[in-house]
Symmetry: C2
Subunit: 142 residues, 2 copies
DNA sequence: GTAACTGCAAACCTTTTGCAGCTTG
DNA sequence: CAAGCTGCAAAAGGTTTGCAGTTAC
């Protein structure tokens, strides 16, 4: 993703283009797994001379979330919320209980099931979260 | 569940029988949905002359969780953790996004899928969480 | 009698907020 | 220039902890 695409994206969402926002967006975009505000804070800080402020991180995340650019993940790590880019596609995660690695899964096993469930329960189903836990290949060895 | 069954259960887990623990256990046992520590605190307090202490609630919950009697639910309500009795059966929940009502679902749609996923990813799958969100019948009307 | 449970107050940790100053469009 | 970002410090809200006193076994 190039600089101008990002500028364009922000313009579309009526967001001012600031260095912090660009960095935060790219960080999440390139992250292979959901990360916490503190982690974002640390990562951005090392890239800059002067560290970013933690509240700024939270505020940017909140803004992005409201614009639908970022998702606050259902997964919590030791009481810390995790954030990820909204890929605009339905996606689930596989979490290693040992090393906490989080990998996205392709596809979703719940298709017809939701329709069935609506009939059974009378609920109007809108969304779901699925997280699967286990041991990743490398943690199985140890 | 009768008093002596509870005494027996606690004995089995090497837990001392205290009034607070009995009340907390029964409360969760009879609750139709996961509830927060604060809610437990409130509910027990109204049943007693003298209110229970919030930290006691947290400590009992932690103890029960370690013994496998209680599950800390994956579902968070406004940053508050929710707890439920460990029914020892695989169970998922349906959550109304409007009134926050939580209903257990019978059955689980993920059976063969996990086996398939193990083959695909190399993970050893141990557990999963599924929460489905929507509008409950009464909230759909309004 | 001893180990474990409880209440109380304080600490902890993540997240939020008010305000003053600065930057973007 | 106006609107809206940002840093700083303080507050908020849920959860944990140390300690002293009490209770269960």
């Amino acid at each position: 993703m190039y600089q101008d695409e990002l500028v364009e994206l922000f313009k579309k969402h009526k967001l001012k283009n600031t260095n912090h926002r660009h960095m935060l967006y790219m960080l999440l975009k390139e992250s292979k797994q959901p990360i916490s505000a503190e982690e974002i804070y640390r990562l951005i800080s090392v890239k800059l001379d002067k560290p970013i402020n933690l509240s700024t991180v939270y505020r940017i995340l909140e803004t992005f979330e409201q614009k639908g650019l970022v998702l606050k993940s259902q997964i919590n790590l030791n009481g810390k919320a995790l954030y990820e880019i909204n890929h605009m596609e339905h996606r689930h995660h596989l979490i290693c209980i040992k090393c906490n690695k989080i990998s996205p899964i392709k596809g979703c096993p719940l298709g017809d099931y939701e329709i069935e469930l609506e009939k059974q329960t009378g609920y109007k189903i809108l969304e779901h979260n699925l997280e699967i836990k286990g041991l990743c290949p490398s943690c199985q060895k140890t």
